[in-house]
Amino acid sequence: MTDLIPLTALGCTAARHEKIGAFHLTERPNLALASLSLRKGQAVPSPFGLVLPGPGQAVWSGDHGAFWTGRDQWMIEANGQTDLAALLKAAVPNASITEQTDGFAAFELTTEQGADAIDEVMRKLVNLDPHAFEAGSATRTTLDHISVFLIRRAPDKLSVIGMRTYAAALWHALAQVARRTDADIDARLSP
């Protein structure tokens, strides 16, 4: 059998990580994604024991997560699953399920400076109210002209899931905004 070497969205064999001042930017290559759309009139299921969230929200439980992407439509996440769509189809046989893992690249921005630093990053990056976008919020929006899913996994942890072909551009956008925000925070803290 052909011996293939798996590469991450950024073209490396290992997940990229960069420390930018008080920020940590990390690639999450093992995040599996599958979309779940209900058929007309179908009751809301609870795959993997998840209570599927309402508009603008995300939930997690163990290795699985879900975030709302549209009416009767969610993206299901799992850590390290190689065929999430098949597992999801087994859990919810009547819904429309599409494998999404290969289409996306996931990055995570965390900070040692607390929620305010993530709020400041969001003010530079997207046109959303960072105070309204608290932990457990998720939405699709545009950042540097790139369409992304934004998930606030914790007050100091922002997940960005974007199109895989844009991985490098997205990484650049996130690294740059982290550098600028870090410089701004430093400037405020120094006498």
């Binding site: 508009p55 549209g70 009416r71 699709r140 929006t141 545009t142 369409s147």
Partner: protein, 93 residues
């Protein structure tokens, strides 16, 4: 410009694509005897009010929902927004 999305709250108008007059949702019945004349009006005739106007906007960079946005074409004030499916199904006016 912000559009008050009924599900997601205020969102940047740049996330939306503008289609036009919301009367486009009322497509004539093609089996009517006067269907040709009705379709001619449907395709080519639009009101062009200076003032309150109901129009279709698509949340392309968001949840991909169609909205009926009520907007004042003179002042550009956004007066309200509803989900187009709710309007079509008669859930809201």
């Amino acid at each position: 410009m912000l559009i008050p999305h009924p599900l997601l709250g205020p969102r940047d108008a740049q996330e939306f694509i503008y289609l036009g007059d919301a009367t486009l949702m009322h497509r004539p019945d093609a089996t009517r005897p006067d269907a040709e004349a009705a379709f001619c009006d449907y395709v080519f005739l639009r009101h062009n009010p200076a003032g309150v106007h109901r129009e279709l906007w698509f949340h392309e960079a968001g949840d991909r929902s169609w909205l009926v946005v009520t907007r004042n074409t003179v002042t550009h004030e956004i007066i309200g927004a509803e989900l187009a499916c709710d309007v079509k199904l008669g859930v809201t006016q």
